[in-house]
Amino acid sequence: MKKHKKNRNVAIVGIGQTHHSSHREDVNQPEMIHEAVELALKDAGIGIEDVDALVHGNMELFEMVHQPDLWHVIGTGGYGKACYRVTTGGTTGATIVGVGDNIVASGLHDIVMIIGFEKQQEGHTTGGITNMADPLWARNLQTGALTGATAEKTINEFGADRAKRAAMRLRVTLDKHASLNPHAHRNFGLDYDQIDDLMVNSPQLVGELRLIHMCSQSDGAVAIILACEEKAKKISKKPVWIRDHVTVHREETFNMFGINENQEVTHHNAARKLFGRNGITNPREYFDVFEMYDPSSWWGLDWLREFLQLEGDEHLKMVENDEVSINGSFPLNPSGGVISTNPIGATAALRVAEAALQVRGDAGAHQIPREVKHALASGFGGTFWTVLFMLEKDLDWQEAE
């Protein structure tokens, strides 16, 4: 089996997340972060003095405060430590885990805590995203992260009824998953018999992208502690190994809307690279769970195809046949996904955290009902920017060389 060589092996040894909600008037930003930091330290069984470095991230235009890493020190525990501040849009949560992975693997630091957060109730999410666009042109046209383009593309390809039904079925499935996750922000108690109703009656945002398809706007934070192999084995009984991660970036794609059929999107590119250099030929077979960054049900549906390198209508079938449900053959977002919980700067890190909990067997009510050895987690943001992680239960892939 092929392997991607890392300087040192890196494991996740501690995970902490807040409850996610749109009502966190009871805490300010550093206090909310501190909740996640304390839980992660407790989970790892170490103190803040054991942590060598912090990687802190969110999207600052969402709260309209700047240099939050500085004034969050009272919540992060960063006094006197090496701190890195990373902000890469919606991808932030994944990029901070990636930075953590890199600085531990490189030998620079042994134990690193990554912290992602967002308090979206404090800002205007759609306005914030709009203001990130090019001020001379796109800023005057953009509508945040809302677009009906993928809906239109899917409808053109598979017909309106089948496409709308599949997107809504995925929405209901993930709502059912969210109902099992006590940390999830939104859970509506949806059922499959509501599909016909919601397809028509859920209010439209842009084109066929409806309110029910779109992710929530949450307040919440997550902290993940990473350690080098030597320390990880001492700290944790169940270290989860970050086997590899890949980041793929590209020029913005607004200028290809409606004509992008032949463009390789970053998700496809990232998955191709990651699977290729690790010798994964059949990802659907190999991975036991996938925590995908799914900002809307239309994207979640379409991206299943891109990540898994599927042809034709395979991705629709996976949803139609309930393969993606928690009891199915390829569980997608047992946590409920981004669509239920979306504190943006934390969101992509939550994908890694939730995938790691699945590998540990510690996900609780939303633990998938069979052993999880190999997990996939993705981050997405900006105008196409993908980070993709593969996590392993056992440190055994290198021996196969």
């Binding site: 009871d26 805490v27 300010n28 550093p30 009272i74 525990g77 800002g123 001379l136």
Partner: protein, 152 residues
């Protein structure tokens, strides 16, 4: 003008967005006390003994939860440092010139930055005794203390 920058222009723009900030339980208790009781509260870290203002959940050095360790501070204190703001900006709280001072209140270990009024900017001195003057209306920010003035 060179050939290269002949086509370069400056376009005026704006970045306008609504936002809000949640003070949280600890911050709210502090602000409500300023507003309703005209009393300044701090929190004390029992490990290192420091009294912090504004209050916060943790001591940044000891990383202890100190959110319940309230202490009442004096409304008077002394100037530990200061500067005179001599430029005007729409985001500034006063017209220039005005004094921005670091003030350590009685009972506190950390100074706060605030406006020092009622004194000629050129006669402010480090060590000067000052007292808080509270705003009449609800402000719900640090400007609930409207300004500091010298103790006569």
């Amino acid at each position: 003008m060179t050939e290269e920058n002949k086509h370069c222009y400056i376009k005026e723009g704006k970045l306008a967005l609504p936002y809000q900030y949640f003070a949280g339980r600890i911050g709210s208790k502090f602000l409500v006390s300023l507003r309703d009781k005209k009393k300044i509260l701090g929190v004390k870290c029992e490990k290192c003994g420091k009294v912090f203002i504004p209050p916060r959940k943790t001591c940044e050095r000891c990383f202890e939860d100190i959110s319940e360790k309230w202490v009442e501070l004096s409304n008077e204190g002394e100037v530990t440092n200061f500067t005179v703001v001599r430029t005007d900006d729409k985001h500034h709280p006063r017209k220039a010139p005005y004094v921005l001072a670091m003030i350590k209140l009685g009972g506190a270990d950390t100074p706060i930055a605030h406006i020092l009024d009622g004194v000629d900017p050129d006669s402010v001195k480090i060590g000067m005794k000052v007292k808080a003057v509270f705003a009449d209306k609800a402000v719900n920010t640090m400007l609930q203390i409207d300004r500091f003035e010298p103790v006569k």
